[in-house]
Point group: C2
Chain length 92, copies 2
């Protein structure tokens, strides 16, 4: 049986194209920028470059697998680390 992937809160698996998706909302442009800077560091380290859509107070993250494959362990790890980053501004 295909193991179900444990995704961080607010993340969801999209089937077409196979990817992971999440939308984070922030209280200010400054927070949005800080989060994006954090994701940039994560991308430099992991060499994973999600499609990012953002404006003043939201960031949409779309993470595809390499070369069109389904997202795998590396992408899920990226999602988890992005969730930890986001919690600094969107946490309880």
């Amino acid at each position: 049986m295909q193991p179900t992937i444990e995704l961080p809160e607010a993340w969801k698996a999209v089937s077409q194209p196979p990817s992971l998706f999440c939308r984070y909302e922030f209280k200010s442009y400054a927070q949005t920028r800080e989060f994006l800077d954090g994701l940039a560091v994560l991308s430099e380290e992991t060499r994973l470059f999600p499609d990012l859509g953002f404006a003043r107070t939201f960031v949409n993250i779309t993470l595809r697998g390499r070369d069109g494959a389904a997202p795998g362990v590396a992408e899920i790890d990226y999602a988890r680390r992005a969730a930890v980053l986001a919690a600094a501004w969107t946490g309880p």
Copy 2:
């Protein structure tokens, strides 16, 4: 007669939703980040916050008018200044 707007190179006017659009391609993630940082300074100064979509080596800019109106002088000025910024990496 409605004056035709002179848009910078690579920019186009979109009718639905009324907005200005441009896609810039870069040679590296570092260049993409530098351009995005430049747009952030432009947004802080002009208080215009376009919808930006980017990944490793491209940035899509969508500039709507305020409150759903058609893009006006302020948006066209933003587009011109973004084009000047981009020319640093995408110029002839």
